[in-house]
Amino acid sequence: MKFFNNGMKTPCGEIHIVKDRCKGCGFCVTYCPMDVLELSDEFNTKGYHFPEVKNPENCINCGLCEMLCPDFAIWSTLKEEKEVIEVLT
C-alpha cells in the first residue's frame, strides 16, 4: 500500500551474527516479529545450523533476537531511518 510522505520515519536495522557462537536453538528465527531470519542449511564449526538473514529490509531493529539469544551470537544495530511511503499489506 502506497502512502503520501508525511515525514514519518521508521528505523531499519542491520543484523549481525557470530555464526560460530550459535548453538542452533532457533529462538531468534521463531520469534522474529518481522520474519527477517531463517535457519541456514550450512553448519558452523560446532555442527549447528545457524541463522541467516532472509529479508534484510524487514528488520526494524527491535532487538528481540539479541535479548533471546542464550549465547550472545546475534544482535542488531540501527542502519538507517527510512521515510514511510509504502507498507506491505
Binding site: M1, K2, F3, F4, N5, N6, M8, T10, P11, Y31, P33, M34, I60, N61, C62, G63, L64, M67, L68, V84, V87, T89
Partner: protein, 653 residues
C-alpha cells in the same frame, strides 16, 4: 350483574346514515345488564363527553360501552373520561360500529343495524366481566446509553446530559468524532468541519454527566425500556489514559508503520498512535495488529521512552456492566467499497479515490496539508473527473437507494479543487443533481457558474489506464447524445453510503428491526422518525438512512428529547392487559417459555414446584402462551376464556 351504560354515537352521518341508531338503542336497552342506553350525535365532542360523565354519576354505572369508531382513535379519550369520573378506565370498552359496520354496509341499512346490535351485545358481554385494573408501573433508570461517538452520538449525548441525566457514550474507535472529524469543509457554507466539531467534542469530554467509553463495544444487552442491562467490552489500549501526557515520544521511537484509518489509508501512522491531534480521550493507543508483539514483548521501545510510565503491556479487556433506561443508536455509516466496482478498476488504481479520501486530501490536517496531489507521483492533477452515484441508484448491480448527500459533496469537492488548483479542470459526471436543502441549489449553481466546473449529464461507463499510464474515463453525454472519452489525472468516485461496518451485528444484538440494507427502521416514517418500534431505542444519524450533517444533528436532538421525555416520569406505565398465571393450575411444563417473542416468560421454583412466571413489564399481551398452555393456567387479563366464550355466544345468537 353490573350496571352497564351504552352510548351509541352517530358520528355525524358516518354511522347514523347506515345504522338505525334509535332502533339499536331500543334493542340494547332490554339486553341483560344494560342499565342505560342512549344515542348522541358526537359522543366524543365536549357536550357528548359531559353527557357520559353525568350519566355515569346519575345512573351509578359501573361499566361503560361506547359504540363508535375504532378504539385506536377514541379509546384513550373515553378511558381518561372514565378515570376522571371515578370509574376504572379498564371498565370502559369501545364497540366499533363504524369501521367494522357502517362504512362497510352502506347499501344495506337493515343488516347493518342488526350487525351493530350484535357488535354492541358482544362488547356488553365483555364489559360485564371486565375487572378493574391498574397500569403496571416500573421505575426508570435515568441513564442513557448512546452507541456511536460521531456527530449524532455527540449531539444526542450533550442534549440528554444538558437536561440533567447521566449519559454513557460508547465509541468503537480510539477517539470520538466519527466521520465528521475527517471532513475538510462542509457544504453549503464551507465551514471547517473540525473547527465546528472539536468544541462539541471537548464539551462532551468535560461534561460532568457524560462518561465517554472509547475503544469499547456493546457486547450484550438485556432487559426492557427503562431498565436495560448492558455489558460493554472495553478493549485494552495498552496505554493508561490518566498517566499519558501526550508527549509523543513513543510515536517517534515506534519502529512500525501502518495505514492510518483517519487518513483513509492515504498516509501512515505508527503502531502506537493518536488518531488525530484533537482526539478525545486524549491518549495514545497501541494497535496490537501492527505492533511487533506482546508475548514476548518484541520491542518495548515505547515503554522505554515513556516518562510517566503510561504503557502497560499487560492490560486486559474489561467488561463493564451498566444499567440504562434508554438507548440511542447512532452507529453511522461507511462508504461502499470501490473494490466492488469492477468497471472503475476495483480500487486498484492509486489515482482513483473515493469521496472520503479526497476529503482528506482537501483537509488542512490531511496527508498533504491540504494540497491536492496524486498518490502515484505526488504531482498536482490538472484535470480531475468526479463521478456521481457510484454504487447507489443501481438496482441491478449494487444498491437501489439514493445516498442523498453525494451530489452536494461532489459539488463541494469540485469547487474546493478549483479553489486550490485554479488552472485545473474539474469535470462532473452526474445522473441528475439532487440539491434539496437550504442554500443547496444555490451552492451547486455557484459551482457550475462561478467556479466553471463542467457538468456532463451521464454516467461514466469505464475507468482504465491507457498505454501511457494516463487515466481514461469513458462515459455518455446524454444531453448531446454522444459518447465521451476524457483523459484525466485523477478520478474521484462519489461512493454510496452503507450502514457502518459492524452495525449489523450490533443491531441483531439489540433486536431492533432494520431494512434489507441494514439501516435501522423507524417506528413510523412520518410521525415517529427518531425511534425504533422496539420501546426504549432511539435513532440518530445515518444509522437510519443516509443524511447530511444538519439532518443528523436535528434527528439526534429529536432522539435526545424523546429520551428526556421518557426520563421525566419517575415510573413507566405499562398496559395491564397482559398474561396472568393461575399458579394452582400451572404444571411447570415450560411450553410457554420458548414461545414468548418478548422473553417475558420464565420458569421459577416456588414452594418446590415449577411455575411459569410472567414478567409483566415485558409482556405485550400477544396471547401466544395462552393458546399454547395445555392446562389453561395462563389467562389474558380482561380477555379470559369465559369472557371470550360469552362474546362468541353473543355474536352468534
Amino acid at each position: 350483574m353490573k350496571r352497564i351504560g351504552v352510548f351509541v354515537c352517530w358520528c355525524g352521518s358516518n354511522i347514523a346514515e347506515t345504522v338505525d341508531v334509535k332502533k339499536v338503542v331500543e334493542v340494547i336497552k332490554k339486553y341483560p345488564g344494560v342499565a342505560h342506553a342512549e344515542d348522541y350525535i358526537f359522543v366524543c365532542s365536549n357536550p357528548g363527553q359531559k353527557l357520559v360523565q353525568e350519566t355515569i354519576k346519575e345512573k351509578r354505572l359501573d361499566s361503560l360501552v361506547i359504540a363508535c369508531c375504532s378504539p385506536t382513535l377514541h379509546e384513550t379519550t373515553f378511558r381518561d373520561l372514565s378515570r376522571l369520573t371515578g370509574l376504572n378506565p379498564y371498565q370502559c370498552e369501545i364497540a366499533n360500529i363504524r369501521e367494522q359496520c357502517s362504512w362497510v354496509h352502506k347499501d344495506n341499512k337493515e343488516e347493518a343495524t342488526r350487525k351493530a346490535i350484535k357488535i354492541i351485545r358482544t362488547i356488553v358481554e365483555k364489559a360485564n366481566q371486565n375487572e378493574s385494573l391498574e397500569p403496571i408501573s416500573t421505575p426508570v433508570t435515568r441513564q442513557a446509553l448512546v452507541i456511536g461517538g460521531g456527530i449524532a452520538g455527540i449531539q444526542a449525548s450533550l442534549d440528554i446530559a444538558n437536561a440533567g441525566y447521566e449519559v454513557l457514550l460508547v465509541e468503537r474507535n480510539p477517539s470520538i468524532g466519527g466521520h465528521m472529524i475527517q471532513l475538510s469543509e462542509t457544504f453549503p457554507t464551507l465551514d471547517c468541519s473540525q473547527c465546528i466539531l472539536t468544541p462539541k467534542m471537548v464539551e462532551v469530554s468535560r461534561h460532568p454527566k457524560i462518561r465517554v467509553l472509547a475503544y469499547s463495544e456493546v457486547q450484550e444487552i438485556s432487559g426492557y425500556v427503562g431498565n436495560f442491562n448492558v455489558k460493554i467490552l472495553k478493549k485494552p489500549r495498552y496505554v493508561i489514559e490518566d498517566k499519558c501526557n501526550l508527549c509523543g515520544k513513543c510515536v517517534d521511537v515506534c519502529p512500525v508503520a501502518a495505514p492510518s484509518e483517519f487518513d483513509n489509508n492515504l498516509a501512515a501512522r505508527k503502531a502506537i498512535y493518536l488518531p488525530f491531534p484533537q482526539a478525545i480521550p486524549a491518549t495514545y493507543t497501541i494497535d496490537i495488529e501492527h505492533c511487533p508483539g506482546f508475548l514476548p514483548i518484541a520491542c518495548g521501545k515505547c515503554a522505554d521512552v515513556c516518562e510517566p510510565q503510561a504503557i502497560d503491556f499487560d492490560m486486559r479487556p474489561e467488561i463493564i456492566e451498566e444499567k440504562v433506561g434508554a438507548i440511542v443508536v447512532a452507529t453511522g455509516y461507511d462508504l461502499y467499497s470501490p473494490k466492488n466496482i469492477g468497471e472503475y478498476g476495483n480500487g486498484k488504481y492509486e489515482d482513483v479515490m473515493d469521496g472520503m479520501q479526497f476529503e482528506r486530501l482537501l483537509s488542512a490536517t490531511g496527508p498533504t496539508g491540504g494540497e491536492v496531489r496524486r498518490l502515484s507521483d505526488n504531482k498536482v492533477p490538472k484535470r480531475v473527473v468526479f463521478v456521481s452515484c457510484v454504487g447507489s441508484r443501481d438496482t441491478e448491480h449494487h444498491l437501489p437507494y439514493c445516498s442523498k448527500i453525494c451530489c452536494m459533496y461532489m459539488a463541494k469537492h469540485a469547487m474546493l479543487y478549483k479553489h486550490k488548483v485554479p488552472d485545473g479542470e474539474a469535470i462532473v459526471f452526474y445522473i441528475d443533481t439532487r440539491a434539496g436543502g437550504k442554500g443547496y441549489e444555490e451552492f451547486v449553481t455557484r459551482t457550475q457558474e462561478e467556479d466553471k466546473v463542467i457538468y456532463i449529464r451521464g454516467k461514466a461507463s469505464k475507468i482504465f489506464k491507457n498505454g501511457n499510464g494516463k487515466l481514461i474515463v469513458w462515459g455518455a453525454d446524454t444531453l448531446l447524445g454522444k459518447q465521451v472519452e476524457v483523459e484525466c489525472d485523477m478520478v474521484v468516485l462519489s461512493m454510496a453510503m452503507v450502514p457502518s461496518n459492524g452495525a449489523k451485528d450490533l443491531i441483531s444484538k439489540l433486536k431492533i428491526p432494520s431494512d434489507a440494507y441494514g439501516f435501522v427502521n423507524e417506528a413510523h416514517p412520518k410521525l415517529r422518525p427518531v425511534e425504533s418500534i422496539s420501546a426504549g431505542f432511539y435513532l440518530a444519524g445515518c444509522t437510519q438512512a443516509p443524511k447530511d450533517i444538519p439532518e443528523t444533528v436535528a434527528q439526534a436532538s429529536g432522539a435526545a428529547s424523546k429520551v428526556t421525555d421518557l426520563f421525566a416520569e419517575e415510573e413507566l406505565k405499562h398496559e395491564p392487559i397482559v398474561a396472568a398465571v393461575d399458579e394452582d393450575l400451572c404444571s411447570g411444563c415450560g411450553i410457554c417459555v420458548p414461545l414468548c417473542p418478548y422473553d417475558a416468560r420464565e420458569l421459577e421454583i416456588k414452594d418446590e414446584k415449577r411455575i411459569a412466571k410472567v414478567n409483566e413489564i415485558l409482556c405485550e399481551g400477544c396471547g401466544s402462551c395462552i393458546s399454547a398452555c395445555p392446562s389453561a393456567a395462563v389467562q389474558q387479563r380482561n380477555f379470559k376464556d369465559n369472557q371470550i366464550f360469552k362474546m362468541v355466544d353473543a355474536i352468534l345468537s
